[in-house]
Structure formats: C-alpha cells, structure tokens
C-alpha cells in the first residue's frame, strides 16, 4: 500500500479502525480533536459506534461497558481529559478489561497549554488512578509508529485483559508524516474478535446447562480475596514484563562516551544531535524506550559500554522518566538530565551543546 501523508491524530484513528476497533467514545480536547473528528467521520462508514460523550468520565465508563462486553474499544484525550478518565482506568485495570486509551499530551499542570509535552509520564507509568495496578504504556516517536501502535495496543489489551495507553504528544498528533497502513481486518476477522472473550465477558447467554453468570467487577469486599486478586494482577504484570518490553537502540556501540535515554518526540531531536556529533567524531548512543511500562531497565544497563562517562536523559518535562533511568543505571555512572517544559520543544543544537559538555 502506498504511503499517505497524514496527521498523527488521524493516522492512529485509521489504524485502530483497520485493526478492528468498532467502538470509540471520547470528548473533544486540543490537541487531539482530529482524532475524535476522524472517528466521527469514519465509524458510521464501517457500521461502528461513535459517541461524543458528555465528559471524559462518561467516555471512559462507556469504554468500561463495551470492554466488559468483550468488544474492541478505544478512547482518546489530552492531558487534562486523561486526568478525568483516571477513575475509569483504575476500574478497567481492576476488572481486568481490554481497552485502549490514547493521550495526546499537552503542557501542564492544570489547564496548562496546548503545546506538546511529556509531563504525564508519571501519571501514565506510575499510576494515575487509585490502587495497585499497571497500564501497558506505549510511546510512539513518529506518525508511522503512532499508527502501528493502534493495532499493537488493541492486541496487547486483548492478550492480557489490561488497559493499554498510547502516550503520544501534541507534536505527534498534529504533525503530518507519510504513513503506510496495515491491511484492514476482514469482516470475518472482526466477527471472530467479537467472540474471543465470551468465556468471561457480558454476552448473550446460552440456554441451560451452558448458561453463564459473568460479573464485570472490581469490588472484593473480603480483604483476603482482594489481596489474592491484586497478587494475581501482579503475576500477570510479571509476564508482561517478561514478554513485552520494546525499545530502540540508536548508534549504540562500544565507542559511546555518552548514553542518552529519551522517548517519543524528544528522542527524535536527540537523534539529530547524535548524528551531528558523529560527524565531529563524538560517539553518543541512544536507548529509546518504546514501552514505558514495562520499562527496558536491563537494556539500558546493558547499553552502558566501558567508555560511557555519563547517561543523559532528555525529556519534555522536569525529569520524570529520569527516575526509572536512575533505577536502571543503579549508580554505575552519573545520570544527568535536561528538559524543557511549558510546551517548548528543545532544538538539536541545544541537545548537542549539552552533550558536548560531557566530552
């Protein structure tokens, strides 16, 4: 299939539909509104359901209902709206339901601004809602990857019965890049997807003796039962950590004197700086975590070559992923951080300047 020039917000929506998502509930917010608008336009054409909900809270609870009924479903928003969804996300994780949430991040806190940011890392990776749970968090760095993650996220959600969050930002949402889509699932494949969860989900019953009583629920009033439930969740998360870590290595070699760690939009700018330094004979490597949870800790540790004097973390926030890098590096070499906030994106020259100071 030929490449199409598309905004990230539209590409992820198109890719989700192709991957068999037929239910989408959301509320408008900048800078993700093209996503909801694309769904409004396209869902009726594939006999799908689009509802502009009365709030992000309602939207995520519609997602809870639809995923409880075992059907592929997605919602999206931007930072303040994702905060509103946290109650529902916690319930979805607690009830072990498959669902995909897209966060096209903007500057915060509060109403912040509508420029790109990465300040929702803690919220995405460390919790966000109440209780012990994890989301699987995917961080794209291009429109193509943003689109590809729609089907990956839907698959992961179904595989682990767990909410998956795609943590993009306003840059990726608004930017146009060429994107190539995977072939759309056939109606037959989509019908098959509808039945994949009928062993536990809300669905029409069979007559006796196969009649079922399924409960979609996160309430366990008996503390011992809740303890077991949470422990079981963490056994599942251990499997996710075992199987699903994804990252990109860029210019990693034994000659690296600095190792960078950066994700999403920020990592693209770091790559430009690395390329430029290479022409000057300075070797800098980059680990770009693609899954922010589970986190590629070991891969970061393994990438610290003998000559690496420093690990440098670049983020569009005040240093959130930095904590996880420090845990991964475990004091082996110093870890430094530089970031920009308020929707301001750093330039390759600024990154280069910071890195040159390390040599």
């Amino acid at each position: 299939m030929a490449k199409i020039l598309m905004k990230g917000n539209e590409a992820v929506a198109e890719a989700a539909i192709r991957a068999g998502c037929r239910l989408y509930f959301a509320y408008p917010i900048t800078p993700q509104s093209e996503l909801i608008e694309y769904m409004a336009k396209m869902m009726p054409k594939v006999n799908g359901t689009f509802i502009q909900a009365e709030s992000e809270i309602a939207a995520i609870n519609m997602v809870y209902g639809a995923s409880g009924a075992g059907i592929r479903v997605m919602t999206s928003s931007s930072s303040p709206g994702i905060s509103l969804k946290q109650e529902g996300i916690s319930y979805i994780a607690g009830a072990e339901l498959p669902a995909v949430i897209v966060n096209v991040q903007r500057g915060g806190p509060g109403l912040g601004d509508i420029q790109p940011g990465q300040a929702d890392y803690y919220q995405a990776v460390k919790g966000g809602g109440h209780g012990d749970y994890h989301l699987i968090v995917l961080a794209p760095s291009s429109v193509q990857e943003f689109a590809d993650m729609a089907s990956d996220a839907l698959d992961l959600a179904d595989k682990y019965r767990n909410p998956v969050l795609i943590l993009a930002d306003g840059m990726l949402g608004q930017m146009m890049e060429p994107v190539e889509f995977k072939p759309a699932k056939t109606e037959e494949e989509i019908l098959k997807l509808r039945d994949q969860h009928t062993s536990w989900c809300i669905s029409p019953n069979q007559d006796a003796p196969n009649k079922h009583h399924h409960e979609i629920n996160s309430l366990e009033i008996d503390p011992l039962v809740l303890e077991k439930h949470v422990n079981d969740l963490y056994k599942k998360y251990a499997v996710v950590e075992q199987n699903e870590i994804k990252y990109e290595s860029y210019n990693i070699s034994d000659d690296n004197e600095v190792l960078c760690v950066s994700f999403g939009t920020a990592s693209r700018i770091v790559k430009s700086a690395i390329d430029d330094l290479k022409t000057k004979g300075k070797s800098v490597g980059l680990i770009r975590p693609i899954t922010l949870w589970p986190y590629p800790s070991k891969q970061i540790q393994d990438a610290i070559g003998k000559k690496v004097k420093k690990v440098y973390v670049f983020e569009l926030n005040t240093g959130q992923m930095l904590d996880d890098v420090k845990i991964a590096v475990c004091g082996k070499v110093p870890v430094d951080f530089w970031g920009k906030v308020g929707g301001i994106v750093f330039t390759p020259a600024e990154i280069e300047e910071k890195l040159e100071e390390c040599f």
């Binding site: 239910l23 609870n61 209902g65 009924a69 019953n205 409960e215 996160s218």
Partner: protein, 249 residues
C-alpha cells in the same frame, strides 16, 4: 404441596445483603419477575451502582457489571452499543443517580439510549451511613444535615422524574412507590412495562421507585412507610410523566 410463591428464576440463590425491612429486595424481585415473564434472562444484563445495591451483581442471574459511583448509565451505554441485541438495565440509588451521576443519567436519557433505568429514591445515602442525598426532604435530619436540610443553604431536593421529563428523547418515565402491596403491584406494572419497551427497542425508560430506609431514618419498617407516605409522596408525586407507547407526552 403446591408451591404458590418462589424466588424468581432471574434471582440467584444468594442471600441479600440488605437490612431487615429494606425494600431493595422487593424492587429486585419486581425486576427479576419481569425478566422471567418476558423470557429474556439469556439476553439481559444489569449494572449495579455504588450504594446499598452495590452487590446487585451477585443477585441477578444474568451477566452483570458493577459500575463506578454514578456511572451506570455510561457503562450501560457502552454495553448496549457493544451488544445491541442485549437488554440492558441499571439499578441506581438517589446519591448515585441524582448527585455524582447527574451528568451520566441526563445524557444517557437525552441520547435516548435503549436501556431501562430503575432509580430507587429513599431520600438518603444508605450504605455510607445515612448522609444527606440530593433527594433529602427540607428540614430532614441526616448525619450530614444534623440540624435538618436547610434549603436556604443547600437547596431543595431534586425531582428527577420531572427533570427527565423536560428532555425530548425519553420514551417512558414513571414514578411509583413500594409503600403498600397495592403500590407494589402498580410498581411491578411500571417495571414490566419498562423491560417490555426495552425488549422491543422502543427507547429510554426511567422508573423512579420511592422507597424507605428504616435503618438510617431511625425507625421501624412500618413507620418508615407511613413517614414516606406523609412526607415523600407530597413532594415526589406518583404518576406517569411520559409514555410514548400510550400517547402520554
């Protein structure tokens, strides 16, 4: 020996968690009987709220979802849109539906979702221990209105059925009560009608059920019913506000 009354097929053989004298059991029974009579147990699903009826997901024999506080109409929307061949109902109390879940109920009704909402109004929060509800009557004492509900400070109780009736989309809106056997029979008719309309995909229906809370009202079940009759019914008037099936607009 002939059995003349038994547990409806749509209720599981699980003990209720309600206080003695509570009417939730009656309300559950009316819904379960209606599901039995319509023969839809295999295709119906319900949403339990947060409140005393939080465990309703254990009681009905169909598939059930438990929803976050107030969000049952949104959850019901998601299920109904995902599984359009199923009949979806919510069961909600006054704190759940008329306070924290006001937006969800209004907008589910306004979209005309093809669901049934059973709204149990007993003018108080039960599960959390008798706090003031949006339907608590003027001057009524609760644990968070210990000097009586001061309408100059906190406003008047909300009449949800009347509020819903200002919307164009709802198909059926009726307020009934469980205060006497005769009223329970009328309530049954309303519940059955709602579930019938649900099965026939007519549209959104809303049945408000006036009930009691002897425990948190600090009285016995019989006196609670008298109190409700004397105090709630003058404010929450029983009757049908909308029935498009019978030309009541």
């Amino acid at each position: 020996m002939e059995v003349i009354a038994k547990r409806p097929q749509s209720l599981r053989n699980v003990p209720f968690t309600y206080c003695p004298g509570c009417l939730h059991g009656v309300a559950h029974r009316l819904i379960a009987e209606s599901i039995d009579e319509l023969g839809i147990l295999n295709t119906v699903t319900g949403i339990a709220p947060v409140g005393c009826s939080v465990f309703a997901y254990k009681f009905f024999d169909c598939d059930m979802a438990q929803a976050a506080h107030g969000r049952a109409p949104a959850v019901a929307t998601g299920i109904k849109r995902a599984r359009p061949n199923m009949q979806v109902f919510t069961y909600q109390g006054d704190g759940d539906l008329a306070a924290i879940g006001t937006a969800e109920i209004i907008h589910a009704a306004n979209r005309g979702e093809h669901i049934s909402v059973f709204f149990v109004n007993n003018a108080i929060y039960g599960m959390t221990g008798g706090q003031m509800a949006p339907t608590t009557l003027p001057n009524m004492k609760t644990s968070t209105s210990p000097y009586g509900r001061d309408v100059s400070d906190i406003g008047y109780p909300i009449r949800m059925s009347e509020l819903m009736a200002t919307l164009v989309a709802p198909y059926y809106i009726e307020r009934v009560s469980l205060l006497s056997p005769a009223e329970i029979i009328k309530a049954k008719k309303a519940v059955l009608k709602s579930m019938t309309y649900n099965k026939e995909e007519r549209g959104f229906s809303f049945v408000e059920i006036i009930s009691t809370c002897p425990t948190n009202w600090g009285t016995d079940p019989v006196k609670a019913r008298d109190w409700a009759r004397d105090n709630m019914l003058p404010f929450f008037k029983l009757g049908c506000f909308r029935d498009k099936g019978e030309g009541v607009e």
